[in-house]
Symmetry: C2
Subunit: 286 residues, 2 copies
């Protein structure tokens, strides 16, 4: 794969800023330009060294770029693709960091060399001030190629995320959105609902368990609104399956089902523990 | 309030063992005896200094005790109260650490001086090997007196938990069980359901957010079975309210409700953040 010499990051928040810092630290001789719609964000990104040059228009930012990474909220990725298309170099590769993939991959179909990416890193924090060079270290990046994806561009994007320290896997956009609804979008929605349903007098009794269980509800509302609405069919299917599980639970609350309920709870505990151990192994490979 | 000279801890696991260690460190001249149904647990409790003497029968353990603390699982608290009743000193005070309060307070009604307690400390870990002297520091203890509770015993139990570093509040057994269903038992049930509903191929895609959201599902199945079944009417009411909240969410997934969904998510994020800040203030008072 070829070396990226000119990188354009559109949207220099937590993810975009961290990409800039990681590229600076891990790829030599790569010029990094950034677009942002707020001047203060661009100034901060320049200050911490996440970008070399700042642009207030996406079209200007992508001129001359070998690789363009869309880091704007999911809800405007389609618009962003339309806006940059006329300004791209003919062989420019475009990818994104969106948490949903069907809609952006469909929008990217109008470009010659688009590859959908979902680097699974970040936090409930938002903004370039939380950007970190090591945000992507050991984390998983899901690529979502289709039948029409340029294979050289796919290899290039894969090598890029690997150079930033990520493990890379591939799923179809459909599979991605369905599975992420289950393990990410549904838990987020549930965490918000668990907070929203509380009476004022109940919250002072909440302990560390409640705070942990609802930590993911701390994210930015508009960002998550985009994700949940964009993936609403998968999220509704996940909600339906959760409801089914809760109906099973409700039936097991009758004391005649004592053993079944204990087994169900133990199975969940063991399954989570196995997942935790697997994650720890990934982070500290032999 | 009088000084406790003889303390009996029935059930020397994480909570019982930590009470022993905390009493040893914070109350002078208090003799601590412990009951456990497993010899190895008793030996370990003796070894770490959580108890001075071990008994394999609850009746023998409570003889001579000024204060008896029931630390056995919620499901057998009623049986334990019946077993110790004939052996108690006439003025002995009995309390417990159960996560549900209506059933144990009803069972304690047969004793002269029973006070329901719920020290909100612990973790998903289980066993005396995880006992800690500081487990109760700054944590909240809910006392659940009724019209018939001995007021001197109530004051004594309150002073005891305060001596261990706890903040103490009071609720009726009904209020306790209703509010704890909302902030503790429901989140636990939901965490288990979120794990249980996952397909095998989805779990490898789960990130830190999923692990945090489901941490409380890591507890012991039989212990939590007791709690969820004992408090099943409150839990069902909490589940019904969560379902209502999820129906609201589902309606807001339609793009025509973009602002409402973002507001709902932001409100949950702000409410959780306010709770977190309140908790941090409690732990580090001025």
């Amino acid at each position: 794969v070829e070396r990226i010499k000119n990188l354009a990051i559109l949207g220099v928040g937590l993810l975009g800023g961290s990409i800039g810092l990681a590229v600076r630290s891990k790829l030599s001789d790569c010029r990094i330009v950034g677009y942002g719609h707020r001047k203060e964000t661009l100034a901060k990104a320049l200050e911490i060294g996440a970008i070399d040059e700042a642009f207030e228009s996406p079209g200007e930012a992508v001129r001359g770029a070998d690789l363009v990474i869309l880091c704007t909220p999911v809800g405007i990725l389609g618009k962003m693709i339309a806006a940059i298309e006329p300004q791209l170099k003919p062989d420019a590769i475009v990818t994104d960091v969106g948490s949903t993939k069907r809609s952006v991959v469909a929008a990217g179909g109008r470009l010659k060399r688009f590859v959908g990416s979902h680097p699974m890193a970040g936090s409930e924090k938002r903004g370039v001030e939380f950007a970190r060079t090591d945000l992507f270290d050991q984390a998983l990046c899901i690529l979502t190629p289709t039948d029409t994806t340029d294979t050289a561009a796919l290899a290039q994007v894969e090598a890029f995320w690997q150079a930033l320290g990520m493990r890379v896997t591939q799923l179809s956009p459909d599979q991605h959105d369905r599975l992420l609804a289950d393990v990410s979008h549904l838990p987020h929605a549930i965490a918000a609902a668990l907070v929203a349903m509380q009476e004022d007098q109940a919250l002072p009794l909440a302990g560390k368990g409640f705070l942990d269980a609802t930590r993911i509800a701390g994210g930015d509302g508009a960002l998550w609104r985009d994700i949940l609405q964009d993936n609403r069919d998968s999220l509704k299917a996940a909600l339906a399956r959760l409801r089914g599980e809760l109906e099973k639970l409700e039936a097991m609350l009758d004391p005649t089902h004592a053993k079944e309920l204990a087994d169900w709870l133990d199975q969940a505990a063991h399954r989570r523990e196995a997942l935790l151990q697997e994650k720890l192994r990934e982070v500290t490979p032999d």
